[in-house]
């Protein structure tokens, strides 16, 4: 098996699981060295060929696998020879850290500049304008809404944003 040091990281395991799903995990979690065909993988892992192909194409779409095609001269059939490209995982996750950072910054701005009301029974949150339109009563159950304090959300977002800025050398400090 290849890329063992990367696959030891629980976040990377989780990432692959998120991409290929539970059925694809046997394929994603045990990349062989060198080239392999979908049939070889299916046999080795005792999986349906379709499940193997599905995982391989998801990995391909995420730059984590590549293939070359060979045509069998007698039968005319195409064989796909796959290579796992897990060296790209760190760069992929780096761009995910940047995407998360952007989203957190946008969301923090929204949280800071809006007021919220909450129906505690239904756990539904309303913006001030929406809440006013409903007369500050939950449209689902009729319970009066309470003003909701989002300080804890904002402060935990502050902390994560600061950690991301430090790690990625972006934002305030850069």
């Amino acid at each position: 098996m290849a890329f063992e040091d990367l696959l030891e990281d629980p976040v990377i395991q989780k990432y692959l699981h998120e991409l290929v799903g539970p059925k694809g995990m046997p394929v994603a979690a045990a990349p062989p060295e060198g080239e392999v065909t979908d049939e070889e993988l299916a046999e080795e892992l005792d999986l349906e060929l379709n499940d193997v192909r599905r995982s391989l194409f998801i990995l391909y779409e995420n730059d984590l696998a590549s293939y070359r095609r060979l045509r069998d001269e007698d039968s005319g059939w195409l064989t796909y020879l796959w290579t796992f490209e897990y060296d790209n995982i760190p760069e992929n996750l780096e761009s995910e850290l940047h995407r998360l950072y952007e989203a957190l910054s946008d969301r923090r701005e929204y949280e800071r500049t809006h007021e919220f009301y909450l129906c505690e029974i239904c756990s539904i949150r309303f913006e001030f304008g929406e809440a006013m339109d409903f007369g500050f009563e939950c449209p689902e159950c009729g319970t009066p809404m309470d003003a909701m304090d989002n300080d804890r959300l904002v402060s935990s977002m502050d902390e994560r944003i600061a950690a991301l800025e430090d790690e990625l050398n972006v934002g305030a400090e850069a």
């Binding site: 063992e4 040091d5 990281d9 976040v11 990377i12 989780k14 990432y15 998120e18 991409l19 995420n62 760190p90 760069e91 996750l93 780096e94 995910e96 850290l97 995407r99 998360l100 952007e102 989203a103 957190l104 946008d106 969301r107 929204y110 804890r152 959300l153 402060s155 935990s156 977002m157 994560r160 950690a163 991301l164 430090d166 790690e167 990625l168 050398n169």
Partner: protein, 116 residues
């Protein structure tokens, strides 16, 4: 050879250099050898070797008006746990668009605020 094995094989100077790059989060080559307390020639040999082993990234830079290199840790050194809130991974993974107001992201932020 895995990266861990490559790292275990480093000379003392290389190891100190790698540590400096990681701790600084990125450093210009002209500061690198000074901070490390070695000659500029030795500094550049250390960087050369770390680049070749893919332990650091190097790019051209202009610093204090002269041409130098900027030496940075590779993506492998990033702390990917920053993608997690509790046991939930960033909801943008596998998604084309980033929607900062999506329900999935609200859930992620709730996890972040109330994780133990």
């Amino acid at each position: 050879m895995s990266l861990a094995e490559v790292e275990a094989d480093l000379s003392e100077d290389e190891r100190a250099g790698l540590e400096l790059v990681r701790q600084s989060g990125g450093i210009h080559q002209s500061d690198f050898w000074k901070e490390l307390g070695v000659s500029s020639r030795k500094g550049s040999r250390i960087v050369e070797s770390l680049v070749e082993k893919e332990l650091v990234d190097r790019e051209d830079a202009v610093y204090d008006g002269h041409n130098t290199y900027y030496i940075a840790p590779t993506a492998r050194d990033l702390d990917f746990r920053l993608l997690m809130a509790g046991d939930m991974l960033s909801p943008f993974i596998g998604e084309e668009e980033v929607d900062a107001n999506s329900d999935a992201f609200s859930q992620w932020i709730m996890n972040l605020a109330y994780e133990d």
